[in-house]
């Protein structure tokens, strides 16, 4: 492998990692906060992508408006799911597997609805005109759009970091994650914050979908296919840890990038699964996790 090719692969890995990280962050935060696994997370990603397809492709809206639109729509949708379904199940004291089934059902319905509205054919979204073309980076020439995706993700993660570490809301969120009961006994409206953060996660997933449209194609299976890899990312990084998600996302992104280049896609996937299973058994907390996975 020549040096420029190597750099390109590294960048490819980072781009893939960016999508993974955006998706995984929402999922891991919700797990850290409420201890639930949202199987419908991929659905919001998919909706974001399809929304962008329609808004930009069919209705001529600019990409730069589609991005926040996708966030907003998925934020509201996610908050609705949380309020009407998940919150109730938690209130009724149900086993967490019930939430798994609930979100699974939601995902199945959503996937079919998407198929009904947009059809089952895979489509590739268009790169926004302002980001077309390539950019020279030393020995390498790389698509501008892909660099943008990486940069955007860095921005979002920085924003999340600031939110959780430097704001009052962040303190409350972290307190709920550490001890929800006591936090509520000190006046924290945990149900509301849980809903907001859930919506935040799904909104970010929606944006990830918009960004991924021109890179990985848009099709009704994208929800579940990506989800299993995201699970690997989250478990590797440690459930509930944003920092873990970043590092783990980068590692796995690079593994997939180099793996797909050097072996077949299928083998790379099997490897990823094997890694996840091994981690769960050997070091269930992942890189930075805080428990809650073990009994």
């Amino acid at each position: 492998m020549t040096f420029p090719t190597f750099i390109m692969q590294v960048l490819n890995g980072l781009t893939i990692a960016a999508i993974y990280i955006l998706l995984a962050s929402g999922l891991t935060i919700v797990f850290g906060l409420q201890g639930i696994v949202n199987c419908a997370h991929g659905l919001f990603y998919m909706l974001g992508a399809y929304l962008a397809l329609t808004l930009v492709g069919k209705m001529g809206l600019t990409f730069w408006l589609a991005l926040p639109a996708a966030f907003l729509v998925n934020f509201l949708l996610g908050a609705a799911l949380e309020m009407m379904g998940i919150r109730r199940l938690v209130q009724w004291g149900r086993d967490f597997t019930h939430n798994l089934i609930l979100t699974l059902g939601f995902a199945l319905v959503g996937q079919e609805v998407v198929k009904m509205i947009w059809g089952a054919v895979a489509q590739l979204a268009n790169v926004p005109p302002s980001l077309e073309g390539v950019m020279a980076l030393g020995p390498v020439v790389y698509p501008k759009y892909w660099l943008f995706v990486i940069a955007f993700t860095v921005l979002v993660m920085a924003g999340l970091y600031l939110l959780f570490m430097r704001t009052g809301l962040g303190i409350l969120v972290r307190s709920i994650a550490l001890n929800s009961e006591v936090s509520q006994a000190l006046g924290t409206n945990a149900p509301l914050i849980n809903t907001l953060i859930f919506g935040l996660g799904t909104g970010v997933a929606g944006m990830a979908g918009v960004l991924a449209g021109p890179i990985l194609s848009v099709d009704p299976n994208m929800a579940f296919e990506l989800l299993i890899i995201i699970f690997v990312v989250i478990i590797f990084g440690g459930l509930g840890s944003l920092g873990g998600v970043v590092i783990s996302g980068i590692i796995i992104g690079e593994v997939i990038a180099f793996g797909t280049a050097l072996m077949t896609g299928m083998v790379a996937k099997i490897l990823a699964f094997a890694v996840m299973i091994a981690i769960l058994i050997i070091k269930p907390l992942g890189l930075f996790g805080r428990g809650a996975v073990l009994e």
């Binding site: 409420q34 201890g35 639930i36 696994v37 379904g85 109730r88 199940l89 009724w92 004291g93 149900r94 086993d95 967490f96 597997t97 019930h98 798994l100 089934i101 609930l102 699974l104 059902g105 939601f106 995902a107 199945l108 319905v109 959503g110 996937q111 079919e112 609805v113 198929k115 009904m116 579940f224 299993i228 699970f231 690997v232 478990i235 459930l239 077949t264 299928m266 083998v267 996937k269 099997i270 699964f273 094997a274 996840m276 299973i277 769960l280 058994i281 269930p284 809650a292 996975v293 073990l294 009994e295």
Partner: protein, 345 residues
């Protein structure tokens, strides 16, 4: 986040549900005769065989989810591997085996083996991880089958042309009706076996693990071993269902290892009533009927699958069977359901 060992699925310490059991048995025994008078005898018989096979699949999963409380999302592995075992042995090895017995035996062995592996992997981790590990494992198996490194699975096209001639050398199972009764007998035997298992001490341990794993460990039981046992038994019967599917459809495809089928198992059990054995069987039957009816009308009947997941888990977490049972027995809601579990003081 804790549930403290309380799940909403407390299987009632069972009174034997004779009435539903005998009713179902009688219906199944006489159906082929009834079908003869209709114009669609073959089609109807085919559907009911499928119902029975999936019912067996559902019951096997009930042991895992309903009785032991293990939420695995990888049950398709067993039914798929069981089916592929039969297919590979009878079509791809060039041994020209016509009798069904070796295939079935191989499938059962594969089921036990797969159950052991999955049990081994899943028994060491917490509930969230079990879901993910089982899912990943199934996906990996499916990927392996589709990439076909050993050239025996025929990759994405699957294997067809599975013969169905005799069983044990002299029983002719080729005609649909004969096969129907063959499946019915196996179903009854399997139900009996599973039922006995749930009544023996091992069944009690399974249920105790479901309710309060920590306490079971404190009492000195090696939880891991029991979990692996649950997977193996469950895998055994699911693989049997797989073998029967292979013989019934006379073909296998990688879809049989897909997570959709794993999800079906969950649906059957949640719909029918976890921890009741009969409930999941009924759940499977209902779903099959609905699938047949709906798929003629709606291309996207999967929507109903998802909606039923949601509706069931929100409003009927104990499934339909306890409802039916309650109506039948005409007793008030038994408190022994609550008293059977150890509560935190």
């Amino acid at each position: 986040m804790e549930t403290g060992g309380q799940t909403a699925w407390s299987g009632e310490k069972q009174r034997v549900a004779w009435v539903p059991l005998l009713t179902i048995g009688a219906i199944l025994a006489f159906l082929p005769a009834i079908f003869q008078v209709t114009a669609f005898a073959d089609y109807l018989t085919y559907i009911v065989v499928r119902m029975m096979i999936l019912g067996l699949y559902a019951m096997s999963y009930d042991l895992l989810l309903g009785y032991t409380g293990i939420f695995s999302y990888g049950h398709a592995t067993f039914i798929g591997c069981g089916a592929y075992a039969v297919a590979i042995l009878m079509v791809r090895t060039g041994l020209h085996i016509q009798d069904a017995l070796p295939g079935i035996m191989l499938a059962l062995a594969v089921g036990l083996f797969m159950g052991w592996i999955m049990g081994f992997l899943c028994s060491r981790v917490g509930p969230v991880a079990v879901f993910l590990v089982s899912f990943a494992f199934t996906e990996s198996i499916q990927l392996l089958v589709m990439s076909d490194p050993l050239r025996i699975t025929n990759a994405e096209d699957g294997i067809s042309g599975i013969p169905r001639e005799t069983f044990l050398g002299f029983l002719n199972i080729k005609p649909e009706v004969h096969f129907y009764y063959f499946v019915l007998i196996l179903l009854a035997l399997s139900y009996l076996a599973l039922f006995i298992i749930t009544r023996r001490p091992i069944g009690d341990v399974f249920m105790a693990i479901r309710e309060n794993p920590v306490r079971v460990r404190f009492l000195g039981y090696r939880i891991r071993h029991y979990r692996i046992a649950a997977f193996m038994i469950s895998g055994f019967f699911a693989a049997l269902a797989g073998a029967l599917t292979a013989l019934h459809e006379k073909a296998v495809a990688p879809e049989m290892l897909g997570w959709f089928l794993s999800g079906d198992a969950v649906l059957f059990v949640v719909l029918g009533g976890p921890g009741t054995l009969i409930g999941p069987f009924l759940g499977a039957s209902i779903v099959v009927i609905f699938q047949e009816i709906l798929s003629d009308f709606f291309k996207n009947w999967v929507v109903f699958l998802g909606i039923s997941y949601i509706a069931l888990i929100m409003f009927l977490p104990k499934g339909l069977f306890p409802l039916i049972d309650r109506i039948r027995s005409r007793h008030p809601r038994p408190e022994d359901a609550e008293a059977a579990e150890p509560r935190r003081g």
